[in-house]
């Protein structure tokens, strides 16, 4: 264990540890930004995991078939929206229980892409790094933020755009109203379930993009274990962040940092630290962070409550 704490010191000054942390945090941020909007409107969108996985697979197919990363990313977003379409209509039109729908979707997506991937075996590759001059020269953080595979830079416009949607547009105001008090929103003339469905489509879009990004920035090759619970961690980040964009991004960075540091330890020569312990550590940190810092006080009041017109 002494090794472990020595290693932490080394890592804190290691550039590639930060680079890995940001790569890991960005997949969470992309997915969590859309999830934040869905939760603001009142849905805990468990199928986020499936959306990311579907996105990653579709991205692989897109690049495999058309040889273009852009087509891959487009496919990724479409795949996310397909999963979102099922989730949205099952839980905010029928309405089935959103958690059951989400869990079943995650299992279903895993089965479908696992099968298709073994049939098609798409061939893909990591995209190249693009160095942004001057900014990348900032010590320690510069390379992590500005010398990365170019798909990572998508996060810079996407997250602020989603924030702007929620807090600066009429649509965003309606979304927040619907998540806090659907009855009041209904009486004011808003279409509660339609708005909720729209937010899930947005979550599908950003989560699909997250999957495509992760394939091209980190994995290179599609595997069905590629997402590995990051969807759930992104949901945790939204809760950890107290349903604010700032907090959510903070949570993503924290969880990304922990995951990356743990991965970096062996490469720094600390072989004696048990790999099983390292694999577990990010999840332990997530749970501890949730236990100590997450508070449910500021959650949208109607979170996870279905809205049926005319019923109280």
């Amino acid at each position: 264990m002494g090794d472990f704490f020595n290693a932490l010191g080394d890592i804190a000054t290691n550039e590639s540890a930060y680079r890995n942390a940001i790569i890991a945090a960005v997949v969470l941020m992309l997915a969590a930004s859309g999830e934040l909007v869905a939760e603001k409107a009142g849905t805990i969108n468990i199928s986020l995991e499936g959306m990311i996985l579907g996105g990653a697979f579709a991205a692989a197919i897109g690049q495999h078939a058309f040889g273009s990363v852009w087509v891959g990313l487009l496919f990724a977003m479409l795949a996310g929206i397909v999963v979102a379409w099922v989730q949205a209509n099952m839980s905010h039109r029928l309405p089935a229980d959103q958690f059951v729908v989400g869990l079943v979707l995650n299992v279903l997506v895993l089965g479908v892409v696992g099968f298709l991937a073994s049939e098609i075996e798409p061939e893909t590759n990591i995209v190249g790094r693009v160095r942004i001059p001057l900014l990348a020269d900032i010590p320690l953080f510069g390379p992590a933020l500005f010398d990365q595979p170019w798909v990572l830079y998508l996060v810079y416009p996407v997250v602020p755009f989603v924030w702007w949607l929620v807090y600066r547009t009429r649509w965003g105001l309606e979304v927040r109203a619907v998540g806090e008090d659907p009855n009041a929103a209904d009486v004011s003339g808003l279409h509660v379930n339609k708005l909720r469905r729209q937010t899930i489509y947005l979550a599908g879009l950003t989560a699909g993009l997250a999957g495509g990004y992760f394939l091209f920035a980190r994995a290179g090759q599609f595997e069905d274990s590629l997402v590995g619970g990051r969807g759930y961690i992104a949901i945790a980040a939204v809760i950890f962040g107290g349903w604010t964009m700032k907090g959510t991004v903070g949570g993503c960075i924290l969880f990304g940092l922990v995951g990356s540091f743990v991965l970096t330890i062996p490469s720094l020569g600390y072989e004696s630290v048990d790999p099983a312990f390292l694999a577990m550590a990010p999840n332990v940190v997530t749970i501890l962070a949730m236990a100590f810092f997450a508070t449910r006080v500021r959650q949208p009041s109607a979170l996870a409550r279905p809205f049926l017109r005319g019923l109280k």
Partner: protein, 527 residues
């Protein structure tokens, strides 16, 4: 022959802005509205008076498109119109000021006002419009205040502004004073007068409170059992005949007691020397969001005494009820039952100590609608009808029958599902359960809310009988009439603190009003 033909008075001849003709709405076998005619005229305040369940609210919901009638039509300036949803109603110049559920609490005033509009969101313009309206009608408010920080009176201003921003021709107010203090109500009616006289708007004011309808309206329509029983101008109305029309028989007005001030049936015994059955000392509690729920609240209830807790809704009554049902733990202070301290917030502790509770919302926490009458009677203490962990269904049915008899509950039997009972009978089941435990203390929170006059009389009598039998009763109510009618002693709550106390024999209405409002004034409402 239509009812409104008979209306007399000032400009009662002016053509109505909105006319309801032959509106009928059925829910299964229940007729909520039966061939109702109503004319709402510009420049007039039209009171729609009736008891709970008389069909007033259904009628107003027809007007704003939340209920589609089975028969009849709505005319605007003589032309038939269709109103299928609130948006259509707004297009036809009809706006409703909702009492309970149209503001989103975590949003600010201007954000709430903007909800339901279309087009690009322009905060500056919405804020300016809020300022404009609030100046025009004297409804002072800061557009950037958060709704959750505002007291009821201010929230209602936001509702009114939200309604006025679309410049409606007809404004509908549904029980607007139910959460207001007397001073806030006065303010509201003054604002309404401005709206009506200056802009010639028409106002429909729905209420079950006779006094305020008499004071604030120009015309009155009285509804009973879904029908219009009388339409007249306010000038020629008198309280007693209105009450008779409303209820359908001669009633003793609770208001009589208030007006004459002679509550002679409440013979006050000085009990200060006796040990109270319930003593709450310096109780303080905060909500999870840090809001103060109770603030050093102290109150005693003696055996055989009814203590009425008066106050404007949302001043800590619910928290106090929660403490006494072991749902909420105190941050400081103590609760004693018969001189024994009872730990707060520990499930079942209060009930075991002999505190019975008739909760504020019987559907939410008073009973389980899908359970049978018998199951509801023994749900809190199934031990009494169980042997070695198994329910003795025969014993349960026998005891339930006895309670049904004793409390005169009208139902198909012990196995009848709770939802098949009327509200009054559901409340009797709750009362039967709580009183059958031989409690030392009975906490009755809004025990008659939503019930008809017959049920109210019955339940009031039950409370009196329980008190005569030596139970100490804490009556929590926002209906001042109810408090004055039943209580031996009255305490006034404001902001989670007891701000005043008096015995019923020398009750001073003005002082109670001041106490209830005095606290409201601190939060920015002029009194």
């Amino acid at each position: 022959m239509t009812q409104h033909d008979t209306i007399a008075g000032g400009d009662a001849t002016s053509p109505p802005a909105i006319e309801l003709i032959g509106i009928t709405k059925r829910y299964g076998a229940v007729v909520a509205c039966d061939d109702v005619h109503l004319a709402i005229r510009p420049g007039r305040i039209h009171g729609i008076l009736g008891e709970n369940g008389a069909g007033k609210s259904t009628l107003m919901k027809v007007l704003i498109g939340l209920v589609i009638p089975d028969a009849g039509e709505v005319r605007r300036h003589g032309t038939a119109i269709r109103i299928n949803d609130p948006v259509a109603a707004a297009e036809h110049g009809i706006g409703m000021v909702h009492q309970h559920f149209s503001l989103v609490e975590p949003l600010t005033v201007w954000e709430n006002v903007a909800l339901g509009d279309v087009g690009r969101l322009d905060p500056r313009r919405v804020r300016a419009r809020v300022g404009e309206i609030s100046e025009q009608y004297g409804l002072e408010i800061d557009p950037d205040d958060r709704i959750s920080d505002l007291p009821a009176g201010m929230r209602q201003r936001v509702e009114i502004i939200k309604c006025l921003r679309r410049d409606p021709e007809v404004l509908v107010f549904d029980e607007p004073t139910s959460v207001l203090s007397p001073a806030e109500s006065e303010f509201l009616f003054n604002a309404l007068r401005t709206v009506v006289e200056r802009d010639g708007k028409a106002v429909a004011l729905v209420s079950h409170r006779l006094g305020e309808v008499m004071a604030a309206t120009d015309e009155i329509t009285i509804m009973r059992d879904g029908r219009v029983v009388e339409s007249l101008s306010t000038a020629e109305a008198d309280a007693r005949s209105l009450a008779r029309a409303m209820v359908g028989r001669e009633v003793s007005l609770r208001g009589d007691v208030i007006q004459t001030g002679s509550a002679s049936d409440h013979v006050h015994r000085d009990r200060t020397a006796e040990v109270p059955v319930l003593r709450i000392t310096d109780a303080s509690a905060r909500g999870r969001d840090g809001r103060v729920l109770l603030d050093r609240l102290s109150v005693d209830v003696h055996a055989g005494e009814i203590v009425g807790l008066a106050g404007v809704e949302g001043n800590g009554q619910r928290a106090l009820g929660d403490v006494l049902s072991s749902l909420l733990a105190l941050d400081s202070g103590r609760v004693e039952v018969e001189s024994r301290e009872i730990p707060t917030g520990r499930a079942g502790a209060m009930a075991r100590a002999g505190v019975a509770i008739v909760p504020e919302d019987r559907h939410h926490s008073g009973c389980v609608l899908d359970f049978s009458v018998a199951e509801n009677m023994f749900i809190a203490d199934p031990e009494r009808v169980a042997r070695r962990g198994l329910m003795d269904r025969g014993e349960m049915a026998r005891r339930a029958e006895a309670l049904i008899d004793r409390f005169d509950i009208s139902c198909a039997g012990p196995d009848a599902p709770m939802w098949s009972l009327s509200g009054g009978n559901q409340q009797r089941v709750v009362m039967a359960r709580e009183l059958s435990h031989d409690p030392r203390v009975l906490v009755a929170a809004q025990p008659t809310r939503g019930l008809d006059v017959g049920a109210i009389e019955y339940l009031s009598e039950q409370l009196r009988a329980a008190a005569r039998g030596g139970v100490g009763i804490l009556l929590i109510s926002t209906e001042l009439e109810e408090i004055l009618d039943l209580s031996d002693r009255i305490v006034v709550i404001a902001n989670g603190h007891i701000v005043g106390e008096m015995i019923n024999a020398d009750v001073d209405l003005e002082r109670i009003g001041m106490l209830m409002t005095g606290a409201a004034a601190e939060s920015g409402v002029p009194s």
